[in-house]
Subunit: 150 residues, 2 copies
């Protein structure tokens, strides 16, 4: 098996076709990782997502250093993995964020079904809090692809 490093363009292609990935955040050196849905901005410089307020949002507000991981696992000899290291940026309701909110809405409409999981009703009856729209500004991309040696 050979493992190739991916170029930044190849990493963006993986992020662009992913239906979901994992978001990593950290507080006091404790990492926290959760699956999340996102949409890559056509510019390739950031991904947009949304979430109800909870641990993930609390932690990212405290420490904006985050990462986004996506992997495609065909089998143990054929897999791709991409990591985007970046910064959390919340998109507010303020007028200065109008353009960003509009952009996020356009992107989310491409996968309207995906809205629902993040907003699912908790079986415990606990009410969800407000929904937050945010983006991750990508600072560094890296990725690897494995394939059988010829």
């Amino acid at each position: 098996m050979l493992i190739h490093e991916l170029t930044a363009d190849e990493c963006r292609a993986v992020l662009g076709r992913a239906s979901y990935g994992r978001l990593g955040c950290a507080r006091l050196d404790q990492p926290y990782v959760v699956p999340f849905i996102f949409q890559l901005d056509p510019s390739g410089t950031c991904v947009y997502s949304f979430s109800t307020v909870g641990q993930k949002i609390d932690w990212m507000r405290d420490n904006p250093k985050v990462c986004v991981e996506v992997d495609e696992m065909v089998d143990q000899y054929n897999w791709t993995s991409v990591l985007a290291v970046g910064r959390y940026e919340e998109i507010s309701d303020a007028r200065r964020d109008d353009d960003l909110r509009r952009q996020a809405t356009v992107l989310f409409q491409h996968r309207s079904n995906w809205w629902f999981p993040a907003l699912g009703k908790l079986a415990s009856g606990e009410e969800h809090h407000a929904t937050v729209v945010y983006r991750i500004l990508i600072d560094r991309l890296s990725g690897r692809r494995a394939a059988r040696a010829k």
Copy 2:
């Protein structure tokens, strides 16, 4: 869609049948997430894995606070996600670690095919460094399962 919290036993069942997951570590509040293979110990108290030395091992040696994430995504309405928060512990070649190394070896033999990806040859020709065997001692388990509302 209803979202249920999983019990610790249900979380362990998900970890036990997973063929791989993601390992989260952090340094200077920067999270880092990579796919990895692991095997849950039958006691349910830790998972075993191995890796060539690189960023992941360097970071976990510096900061043993880590987490293990596993998700099972059937579709947007049917998914399960588990997070194990724990501590990195390296298994040395010293005699005091004989029992742990033996236990790890027995567990890895159940999925011998999985040995190879972590040891794949880099296409760049760069040589891999030594292989490290380690375990993650699980401190906290949490998980959620989503299903269509009846």
